[in-house]
């Protein structure tokens, strides 16, 4: 088990170094850092002095190593547009994004799995067909469109929920601000969380449905029926557990992409998270933020992958013995 985790951490480090190099290339060669930092009227001599002090005249290898070294210490330089350390900006924005993403992921699991089970067990009933039809809409409508529709319906027309922002927040500790503890924060969360969750929810529902239909046809379920086990146990103990094994991977990867793609939802709802920060930095060619965000997303995916693998180990006894044997 420990050896397994160490091995996975090793490969995670390799992935992160690779992405780090990509981020460096982005950082160094997209636009000219000096031009970004100075005004039009800065003299050439001043520019050269700045160039030298930023270390831009050193060899590429030295620069890359320095970039990676700093990145490992969470030092991503200073944002061109805000003139503040990138790490500070990201940490400030992180709680908003993580709260939105985790609540969305939770919603998509808590709603998506039961819907998938219902539509698999009710195969030809009307509600299963309805769920299938609705899920097709959920999967094919683009997120920004859903967001705009939600705003139009629930904010503009019905005036139930605010259309933008995060509501009031409360400070928890030094770094974390939460919107989950105020009523305006919760109300502000509902629309963006539903928007972001809808795609994942339908994805998970369809996955659970198809996995479950497959498992229900399998030999061990037929044998369970032949032993006279009650339908409840066959469906919810044996079939559901077997169906959820592959769902773990997808749900994990989806959580990663929920965080990565919160960008669109954050933009639609002007949600003050990292995604919004990222889009602003793209518009302003604020390369340090872009590079840091890239690394953050990569680290996120790597961490989630690791958790998924460990979860697998916990759920599927077959893997435990093989990893013991190695």
């Amino acid at each position: 088990m420990l050896a397994f985790i160490l091995r996975r951490l090793g490969s995670a480090a390799i992935v992160l170094i690779f992405v780090g190099v990509l981020a460096f290339i982005l950082f160094r060669y997209v636009g000219d850092p000096v031009n970004q930092m100075v005004g039009i009227d800065t003299s050439i001599a001043d520019r050269d002095r700045l160039r030298e002090s930023l270390g831009l005249n050193d060899s590429v290898i030295v620069q890359a190593l320095r970039f990676l070294g700093h990145a490992a210490m969470f030092d991503f330089g200073v944002s061109y547009q805000f003139k503040r350390p990138v790490a500070e900006l990201l940490i400030e924005r992180m709680p908003a994004t993580l709260e939105l993403s985790l609540i969305s992921a939770l919603l998509s699991l808590v709603i998506g799995i039961p819907m998938g089970v219902a539509s698999a067990l009710g195969k030809d009933r009307w509600y299963a067909k309805l769920l299938q039809a609705v899920s097709l809409a959920g999967i094919s409508l683009p997120t920004f469109l859903i967001g705009i529709l939600f705003i139009y319906l629930f904010s503009v027309t019905l005036r139930w929920f605010p259309s933008f922002g995060r509501g009031d927040t409360v400070k928890l500790g030094t770094y974390w601000t939460t919107g989950l503890l105020t009523s305006s924060g919760l109300r502000a969360l509902i629309l963006p969380a539903m928007t972001l969750a809808l795609f994942q929810m339908t994805l998970i529902m369809r996955l659970v449905r198809s996995e479950m239909l497959e498992v229900l046809r399998s030999d061990h379920i037929r044998f369970a029926r032949a032993r006279g086990l009650p339908a409840r146990s066959i469906n919810f103990r044996h079939a559901l557990k077997n169906s959820l094994v592959p769902v773990i991977t997808v749900a994990g990867l989806q959580l990663g992409s929920v965080i990565a793609f919160a960008t669109i939802t954050e933009t639609v709802f002007q949600w003050p998270g990292m995604g919004l920060l990222f889009l602003q930095s793209v518009q302003n060619v604020d390369v340090p933020i872009m590079a840091a965000y890239l690394l953050f997303v990569a680290a996120m995916f790597v961490a989630i992958n690791l958790v998924v693998d460990i979860l697998y180990l916990a759920v599927d006894p077959r893997l435990k013995t093989t990893s013991k044997a190695h």
Partner: protein
């Protein structure tokens, strides 16, 4: 002879397809007495598994029983609700399947699965059910059952897993076991052990067994009576010795001619030239075997042969039936 434990009467199973129904079992009739082992043979696709599933009430749509009856101890069980059928599956009839590797739920220990099955049918405490599970594992020949009860299915070899499957089938003490090719997926070396185990259980517990197999050698050694299936029909039934030594139906004769001797155990069914016809949309108005039969004559290709009773034997073949006048073309 007393009333049979299981009686299948004129059973017909169809599959609904886009192009209309296909007849998979047609006019299937046979009996199994208490304590009797009935061997069922026939080539792949003949309808052996389907017959077993029909008895268990486990035929899934688009398949369904269209007509005929299945009687257990004289009571019809072919039209029971799922709830009532659940009381039959396990305590009255159990079924084991071909592939022990896929018959067990990989995510639960063997003990969990045994205890769950025992408690589904008997009001036992978890502790008492566990003791019973250990006892069953010992009875089917799993060494050190006290330890093995907590093992996962993948920690057993194929032969051992089939023993676990048999233990699971025995949990609720059934009267009849339908064993659908229980050894086909196993190594030749363990096949005989599994058959011996089934035979022992049948003898000790007075179980009836419907033993589906490709292996005529196993039938000859194990079964009391044998039913030969071809293209969804039973073409011959009778006491195993009589059928093996003097089969009446030409298809059965072909099968018996190829019974492997002890030395050539590996040889499977006879090589009768040709292949079984596909499923037809209605009852065939001819003998399904006539295209491969070297004894065919006029009626074979124009009228389906009825089942003729000859003492303790039954056969569906025009060779053993007076041809109705004017039927031949």
């Amino acid at each position: 002879m007393s009333a049979p434990l299981l009686s299948v009467r004129k059973l017909r199973v169809e599959f609904a397809t886009r192009k209309g129904p296909l007849v998979a079992l047609d006019d299937v009739s046979f009996d199994i007495a208490r304590g009797e082992v009935l061997g069922v043979v026939g080539e792949s696709g003949a309808g052996k598994s389907l017959t077993g599933l029909a008895i268990m009430g486990l035929i899934d749509p688009p398949g369904r029983i269209v007509s005929g009856e299945i009687l257990l101890d004289g009571e019809r069980i072919d039209h029971l609700s799922e709830d009532r059928m659940r009381l039959i599956r396990g305590p009255r009839i159990a079924m084991i399947f071909q592939d022990p590797l896929t018959s067990l739920d990989p995510l639960f220990t063997v003990g969990d699965q045994l205890v769950e099955t025992i408690r589904a049918h008997q009001p036992l405490s978890a502790q008492a059910a566990r003791q019973k599970a250990i006892g069953l594992l010992g009875e089917v020949g799993i060494p050190a059952p006290e330890q093995r009860v907590d093992s996962w299915p993948h920690e057993f070899s194929g032969g051992m897993r089939q023993r676990v499957v048999i233990a699971l089938a025995m949990c609720a003490e059934p009267e009849l076991i339908v064993a659908d090719e229980p050894t086909t997926a196993l190594d030749v070396s363990v096949q005989a052990q599994i058959i011996r185990l089934l035979k022992r259980l049948a003898r000790e517990r007075g179980l009836s067994v419907m033993l589906v197999t490709h292996d005529m050698g196993v039938i000859a050694e194990t079964a009391d009576r044998v039913a030969v299936m071809y293209a969804g029909r039973v073409v011959e039934t009778g006491p195993v010795r009589e059928v093996v030594h003097a089969a009446l139906h030409p298809y059965a004769q072909g099968l018996m001619a190829a019974i492997p001797t002890l030395e050539t155990r590996a040889v499977r069914l006879a090589q009768i030239p040709g292949s079984m016809p596909r499923l037809a949309p209605r009852t065939r108005p001819y003998c399904a075997f006539h295209t491969r039969c070297d004894k065919r004559f006029e009626p074979c290709s124009s009228i389906a042969p009825p089942v003729t009773r000859m003492g303790g034997r039954e056969v569906a073949c025009w060779l053993h039936e007076p041809v109705p006048a004017g039927a031949a073309r």
